[in-house]
Symmetry: C2
Subunit: 237 residues, 2 copies
């Protein structure tokens, strides 16, 4: 069988992109270099900010650059494309329309993972950027599966945006207490699972070494789906 | 000024490639996604093993694939190419002859960094693969600078190869005691600086959180040179 190549449409953000690639390598069952997945990674951080455009269409539109990058990955022989940024999936249909190569959808993979791993799942909480929340992307998928979706109250949502933009993306220390408090608040409001639906939150999840079965990290779900799609095995343990 | 693009000829190995990209992102002074360096990363782990070919030319030759990847990076508009693998620099001249884009040489950058940061430098120890050691790549550069190069005794060299191939590349726990013992042995033999001249050793260096001014990590040196070449600033602190 011809080896599959994974295309990573990245840079949105750059830290999340390299963490995604790192996760794919760590989560692949491999004894030698040659057992790993081939990847072409475009780390293109100058792509205009996604949330800024979703909230205000007079801001620079990130879609033309993302479509161009998807076409480069297709021309480079990639068999699958991933975009390690939840917010960018607002533009998923528009990007997918421009390439024949399938784009794995981080939101779909994450909701499916919740269903597979969380028992008695009825209500899912979603932590994400304003762009993702206001586009109702997660809400639509979750409700299509017959489940209930809860998003943070406005004050907590503003606090999450501070964590994502002014702490993680800016390379500054993260207010972990606040991050954990917001997860706790979602649990108190009845969430059976809480999705980390922004790849900057996945970075906190890694650094804080927070392991709970009811906290489902979208980046890990995308890495897992990518490994399996490319015909590799998941590392055990 | 047109934004510079860094091409990463990677996959040799995959873990080192993603760690290199991670270091570039972490070491760049940036407040937003858009402040980071654009990178095109080819993570191509099926490139035949470099040390195997250097030691036995009847083994598969990694050069044709590496030249092809370098040309793809050039065609993709990269301004600089890096290869985050010391051993692969055995083929540096042959790859550089096939592209006009300059390839930053990890060995040259590392020896220069030793000279800039280690006071009263006379003797440098090099920890690297059999391929790198037997090709005399570091020895030639170090001696050209009027310095003395020391490499591990055969038993320690065999132990290093076990650490690189059977522990780091295989994703198994690393014998940190043995790694530190070998560094100590090089110091005892009179090295003013010890170069970690294999990017798998850079991964140990990261995980072990080993910070000594006389241990110079080739991967960090290459990341630093890449950031400066692309016109960005190093993150302070």
């Amino acid at each position: 069988m011809k080896e599959k190549v994974l295309g990573v449409l990245g840079g949105v953000g750059p830290m999340a992109t390299v963490y995604f690639a790192d996760l794919v390598v760590r989560m692949t069952e491999a004894e030698t270099d040659q057992d790993h997945i081939s990847m072409v990674i475009l780390n293109h951080p100058t792509i205009p900010d996604r949330t800024a455009y979703i909230l205000d269409h007079s801001k620079p539109n990130p879609v033309p650059v993302m479509v161009e990058d998807a076409r480069r990955l297709e021309a480079d022989g990639c068999d699958y494309i991933v975009i390690p940024c939840n917010t960018a999936h607002y533009f998923y249909d528009e990007i997918q329309r421009n390439v024949r190569v399938p784009i794995l959808n981080i939101l779909e993979e994450t909701v499916r993972a919740c269903q597979e791993t969380v028992p008695n799942l009825k209500t899912i909480g979603v932590l994400a950027t304003d762009g993702t929340i206001q586009s109702h992307a997660y809400q639509n998928i979750i409700e299509r599966h017959g489940l209930t979706c809860i998003v943070p109250e406005p004050g907590d949502q503003a606090s999450l945006m501070t964590i994502i933009y002014e702490q993680v993306k800016a390379g500054r220390p993260v207010d972990l207490f606040e991050f954990h408090r917001i997860i706790g608040e979602m649990k108190k409001r009845g969430c059976d699972a809480v999705i980390l639906g922004c790849t900057e939150l996945s970075i906190i999840h890694r650094d804080a070494n927070l392991r709970r079965p009811d906290v489902v990290d979208s980046m890990e779900c995308l890495a897992r789906s990518s490994i399996l799609a490319c015909g590799k095995q998941l590392r055990r343990g």
